[in-house]
Amino acid sequence: MEPKKPFELVVREHGPTVLRVCRAVLGAHDAEDGWSETFLSALKAYPELPAGANVQAWLVTIAHRKSIDIVRARNRQPLPVDELPVRPSGLGIPGDGHREVLDAVGQLPPKQRQAVAYHYLAGLPYKDVAGLLGGTPDAARRAGADGVKALRTILVDSSESYVKEETP
């Protein structure tokens, strides 16, 4: 069995994927806190992780739990939304569509958003996604498929309205 790697390599190998998952599930604003809490918690528990375990699936499980905690804490302290400053997202390269796709993901219902993040961004099989979300693998698969369908609609609609605005 493969011996356990230094945690530094775990961060380097899986850090970007976990950040994408956190962004999709939590949105750009809370994603960095989600990432930090995920890896801090993972570092603490790392010696007890069985050798040969699927590290990425383990990290996504932790990210899932931490995201729930963050959303709960956020809901307990509602911020006056109308007073929130406009945050430049600073995400991605301007014009690469990162912001648009992330905003579209943010419009999905939580289950669909999570199913899309865990299955398509982190590569978890729907059996494992169901383990995180509750329900059957089929239900998880449907949530993922519905999420993708909704994303297409949102993104196509917004690009069409963009074209319309640009057309004199």
Binding site: K4, P6, V11, L19, S36, G92, I93, R152
Partner: protein, 206 residues
């Protein structure tokens, strides 16, 4: 990238999410290392420094310096062994190693003759540990023979074992095994290579 490729159209749809701004992973990593050190979950911090005898890996536990490794030892392999022997909770973190990096700089500049760093000897046991504990008593610019070190470590006949202890010194340069030479005055072997040992002794003789 781990986006699934059994559904290429979905991958294309989500592709814009792949990009991560340059510098962001570094910032998140540094924040993690700082928070882990604060919560006592960073068992081993490491960094590298450039030196006249090549790039050195420095690793420290909360108790002190635990490992100095030469480039020829393969730093990745050294870290993997630390993960197996001590703890896999290892992160790159410059700050815990700042004092060591500074003292090594001063040493190689010839302005420091004694290291003043807490040491963690968890990688050494028994007679080897006795040998390592004696070595810092050999003053800068001086040498001792393997036989003299054996005597000082309490086992005058264990000359070969002194050789092994020096060859497996987890803290070379800082614990000066390079100051141990053969009775005939020739250098003897060195984990960092004969050239590195010659360079250190020349530096200290200047």
């Amino acid at each position: 990238m781990t986006i699934h490729h059994d559904e290429p159209d979905v991958s294309a749809l989500l592709a814009p999410l792949e990009s991560v701004e340059p510098g962001l992973m570094q910032r998140l990593h540094d924040r993690l290392a700082a928070a882990a050190a604060e919560q006592d979950t960073l068992d081993i911090a490491y960094r590298t420094v450039d030196s006249p005898i090549g790039k050195l890996l420095l690793a420290a536990t909360e108790r002190g310096m635990v490992r100095v490794a030469f480039e020829v030892e393969d730093h990745d392999a050294v870290l993997q062994r630390l993960a197996e022997k001590l703890s896999p909770r290892i992160l790159f973190s410059a700050s815990r190693l700042d004092p060591a990096a500074r003292e090594l700089d001063e040493y190689f500049a010839g302005t420091r003759h004694r290291f003043d760093l807490p040491l963690d000897f968890s990688l050494s046991r028994g007679f080897r540990l006795s040998v390592l504990e004696h070595l810092p008593q050999i003053a800068y610019g001086h040498t001792e023979s393997y036989a003299q070190v054996a005597l000082a470590a309490g086992s005058p006949r264990a000359v070969r074992a002194v050789g092994t202890a020096c060859a497996t010194n987890p803290l070379p340069v800082i614990v000066p095994c390079h100051r141990v030479v053969k009775s005939d005055g020739s250098f003897g072997n060195y984990l960092g290579g004969a050239e590195a040992k010659r360079a250190l002794l020349a530096l200290e003789a200047a």
